[in-house]
Every structure is written in structure tokens, then in C-alpha cells.
């Protein structure tokens, strides 16, 4: 099959301006059914759905219509867009990406200035009520002049663009929780999308940056089911953020046995023992890194010998030092001990739960965790 799958080249038949289904688009590109089934199998894996869902995905994608997408970038570093455009499976992910109509993305689009804004306004008008709004970056509230696009403040552009959106996907920790701009002392008064928009479904896809297949997985889910995926208590898709890094970590057995690296070059580090005491945020971080992995599925930070920084969690930048072991809230040690008695796995979950719930408190009364604490 031909390598360039630019669906934007597809001409509408007989002047028909109705959007084509993905199946029609693929057939016009001479994509075989076998290729499509391969695409669906990989999409199921990407969406963390069981393989039994492959025929359902095939049927839904066959009839999926191409949604208009408007992508806004506010206070950000472009790392999220980099993550997506450097995605490790260009053919398959470009299929997902090109099965949407990306009508505005000021980093990627050729148009600039007034022409770019005109494209955004036209897309909003044509698809009012139906387009997807993707946002990366936080929004400064202290002074609208801190971040503007074509003279429009981020706040005004977000409010204006959100009005006709069917749903909003907040991509990256800045858009989801304020991220690094929001870090203490938050000089711009940065806030997240959810702090401003209250009347639209918002899917949070945090990470600094998010795993590319998680971004495309959410798009694929919307394309496939025409709805937003099931979300956790802070708006993240459960399929990708449903389990902690710690619970899915291949080094977990070392944690359970109390075998920890104490420094980055000791025997424990060389033996690949648990990085908990070097500050690993795995127990309090919910993301898919441990199974989906990074860089062509090569590895993830812990596999490369570095603790998880917890980049998909709110306020990860203000967590009290990346290399300090997670705090053990002193007032809840007894509770932890009860869980520990029930088994090390439960203890890990308890520490995660306690730290998630009492992160701020525990950081204030920071006490370094020792091996003895874990044996309690």
C-alpha cells in the first residue's frame, strides 16, 4: 500500500460535502481490509481494551465520521505536541490523527496570523456543537497579557472556543492541573482548563508529556464510541490512569521484599532493586508508563534506573524534592501497619492512598521512610 496516507487529499465525491466515514476514507486510500484489521487490533491494544473488542472497534471505526478538532496551545513548552508528532508508530497513529480534521493548531499549521484565526473561527462556526477542543498549556489569570495569541488572551480564546465544543481534551499536566507554570509561586496565576470551563465534558490526559499513544488512544476512543471514556476522580481515562505505576512496576517484587537502592550507584541500583527510597513516586502516580512504555516501547524511567517523578499527578512539581522518599504521614502509620499485616501489596496500595489523600500534609511534616517503616 502507498506510504503517504494523507487523508486530506481525499476528494469528496460528486460535490458531496457530507463528511465521509473512516471506512470510506480508508477504502479510497486503497487500505486493505486486512490492513484495517491490523489497525483495529493495534488500536484495541492502544486503548487498553481486551482483544475481544477488536470486531466492535472495526465496526465502529468503519462507520466513524471525521470530527473537526481545534487544538489550542497556551502556557506550554510544546512538549505535548512533540510527544504526539514523534509517536512511535507513524503509520497507524497518523491514521488516527488523520482521521480527524485538524482545523487549527498554531504550531503545526502553515497559516499564521489573521488567516490562522479565520480558520479557527470558520471551523467553530461550521461544526458548532460537534467539534473536539484539544488544549495544551495552562491559562494565566493574573494578567491576560502574559500569554496571548493574535492579540487574544488565552482566557478569552478558551472561553470562546469551548462554547461550541462537544468535549474538551486537556493534554499535558499544564492543561490538566496547571503544571509547571502553576508551580509555587505561580507567577502568572496559571490555572487548568477545568478551573475555567465548567459546562463541558473534559477529559484530562496528564503527563509531562503524556504518552503519545494515550493521546491517540483517547482520540481513538472518541472516534470509535462517539463518547468520552470512563474517567477517574480527577478526570483521567481509567483505561490508562486506572492503576499506579507502583502496582504495574516490574520492580515491585523488590519493594515487597524490602530490597531498595539507597544510592544511584550502589549494589541495589545495579541489581535493579526498588527505587522507592530514591524518591520514586510510583505509589502515588497513576499512568500507563509501566506497560505502554516509551521510545518504541523500549522502556520507562524506572526501567532506565530513575525514579518516577509523578508527572501525571497534580502539583508534582511542588512535591518536596524528586529524590526524597515519599512521606509517611505520621498520624496514619497505625493504619498502614494494619494494611501491612494484610500483605505487602496492600501496604503499597495503602501508602499510595494515604499519600494521595494527604500529600500536602505529609510534605509539611516530611519524615523519610526507612526500611523499618516498611516492615511495620
Amino acid at each position: 500500500m502507498k506510504k503517504d496516507l494523507s487523508l486530506k487529499d481525499v476528494k469528496l465525491k460528486n460535490g458531496d460535502s457530507k463528511p465521509e466515514t473512516l471506512g470510506e476514507i480508508l477504502r479510497s486510500q486503497k487500505v486493505s481490509r486486512r490492513s484495517f484489521m491490523k489497525f483495529c487490533a493495534t488500536t484495541a491494544s492502544m486503548m487498553a481494551l481486551p482483544p475481544a473488542m477488536i470486531p466492535v472497534i472495526a465496526n465502529a471505526l468503519e462507520n466513524a465520521r471525521r470530527p473537526s478538532v481545534i487544538w489550542l496551545s497556551f502556557q506550554e513548552c510544546t512538549g505535548c505536541t512533540e510527544s504526539l508528532t514523534r509517536a512511535h508508530s507513524p503509520t497507524l497513529e497518523s491514521l488516527i490523527f488523520e482521521s480527524i480534521s485538524l482545523d487549527y493548531h498554531h504550531t503545526l499549521q502553515a497559516a499564521s496570523g489573521a488567516a490562522a484565526e479565520a480558520a479557527r473561527e470558520a471551523a467553530m462556526e461550521e461544526n458548532f456543537g460537534n467539534y473536539l477542543l484539544v488544549v495544551d498549556g495552562s491559562i494565566p489569570l493574573d494578567n491576560p497579557g502574559y500569554s496571548t495569541i493574535a492579540g487574544i488572551s488565552n482566557l478569552d480564546m478558551l472561553i470562546e472556543s469551548a462554547k461550541g465544543a462537544a468535549a474538551i481534551i486537556a493534554v499535558g499536566t499544564c492543561a490538566t492541573y496547571g503544571g509547571i507554570p502553576h508551580a509555587n509561586p505561580n507567577p502568572t496565576g496559571a490555572v487548568s482548563v477545568k478551573d475555567i470551563i465548567k459546562d463541558k465534558p473534559i477529559i484530562n490526559v496528564p503527563g509531562c508529556p503524556p504518552i503519545p499513544v494515550v493521546i491517540t488512544g483517547v482520540l481513538a476512543h472518541y472516534l470509535t464510541f462517539g463518547s468520552i471514556p470512563e474517567l477517574d476522580h480527577i478526570g483521567r481515562p481509567k483505561a490508562f490512569y486506572g492503576q499506579s505505576i507502583h502496582d504495574r512496576c516490574y520492580r515491585r517484587p523488590f519493594y515487597d521484599k524490602g530490597q531498595f537502592a539507597e544510592t544511584f550507584d550502589d549494589e541495589g541500583a545495579k541489581k535493579g532493586w526498588c527505587l522507592f527510597k530514591l524518591g520514586c513516586r510510583g505509589p502515588t502516580t497513576y499512568n500507563a508508563c509501566a506497560t505502554t512504555k516509551w521510545n518504541n516501547g523500549t522502556s520507562f524511567p524506572i526501567e532506565s534506573g530513575h525514579p518516577c517523578l509523578g508527572c501525571s499527578e497534580p502539583d508534582f512539581w511542588d512535591g518536596g524534592g524528586f529524590y526524597k522518599a515519599l512521606s509517611m504521614p505520621t498520624d496514619d502509620i497505625s493504619k498502614t501497619a494494619v494494611y501491612a499485616a494484610a500483605g505487602a501489596a496492600a501496604a503499597g496500595a495503602a501508602i499510595g492512598a494515604l499519600n494521595r489523600g494527604k500529600k500536602n500534609t505529609s510534605n509539611k511534616i516530611h519524615i523519610k521512610t526507612t526500611i523499618d517503616d516498611l516492615r511495620k
Binding site: M1, S35, S89, T91, L92, E303
Partner: protein
């Protein structure tokens, strides 16, 4: 015991997921024989330490059938040394693995000619023969 490029010792079962997966394959093969039920296991959905996927693949080995597809990038499909247990690996055009499944079936569906493709093939072949006639 092997050593990864990051000097992390591997080789022993670390996550304890290797044997459960192999037992899952055994149960699935039993179900295939008893009532024709096919199964697919997505290897990318299970936490595995460096070297553990390799251990699973080495245990399953390679059997008599080996096929390579060219559909949105290559795919490699082979029957393991255990008849009815297939390994399906999809690559992108840079030959990076994008998904990997163990399928317990008589023949993975993706190897079969697809209805829509056969229908298109009939049209194309008819057109080709029509052109030749003129």
C-alpha cells in the same frame, strides 16, 4: 542470568507473570480443543520485566508456519512449537513493534483473505481481463 544494557540483572522471573501467562495459554489451548473457543492475549497489557517477554517467546518457540504480511507496515506471524498457539507481531514502517499478541486458534484471522478484499479483487481481476480482451 542475562544483563540488560542498563546493567540491571534480569533472567530470573521478576514479576511472576511469565508462568501465569504460559498457563493461560495452556488453558486457552485446552478450550480450543474442547469447544473451539479461540483466545487472544495482548502481551502489551501485562507488566513484564526486561527479558521476560523473551522468556515467554523462547518457551513457546517456533513451529512449522512462518508468514510475513505487508499491511500498514510489516507483520510477522508464526505458529509456535505448540500447534494452535500463534504469535502475531505488528510492526510500523520503521520496524518498531506496535502490538504483539499470542493467539490461540487454528489460524489467525488476519492471515485469511478478507471478504471486502476478495470482493475488490474480483472487480479488479474482471477489469484486467476485460482490458486484455480489447
Amino acid at each position: 542470568m542475562s544483563t540488560s544494557p542498563f546493567n540491571i540483572h534480569t533472567g530470573n522471573e521478576l514479576t511472576w507473570n511469565v508462568r501465569p501467562i504460559l498457563f493461560e495459554v495452556r488453558h486457552a489451548l485446552e478450550a480450543l480443543l474442547e469447544n473451539g473457543q479461540t483466545s487472544i492475549i495482548d502481551l502489551r497489557s501485562i507488566p513484564l520485566a526486561p527479558g521476560e517477554e523473551e522468556t515467554i517467546l523462547n518457551t513457546l518457540g517456533q513451529g512449522e508456519v512462518h508468514a510475513r504480511l505487508n499491511a500498514l507496515g510489516p507483520s510477522e506471524i508464526y505458529e509456535t512449537r505448540y500447534a494452535g498457539v500463534w504469535l502475531v507481531t505488528h510492526y510500523n514502517e520503521d520496524e518498531a513493534v506496535v502490538s504483539r499478541f499470542i493467539e490461540i486458534t487454528e489460524l489467525p484471522d488476519i492471515l485469511k483473505s478478507q471478504q471486502e478484499d476478495m470482493s475488490n479483487a474480483l472487480t479488479e481481476l474482471t477489469q484486467t481481463l476485460g482490458t486484455q480482451d480489447t
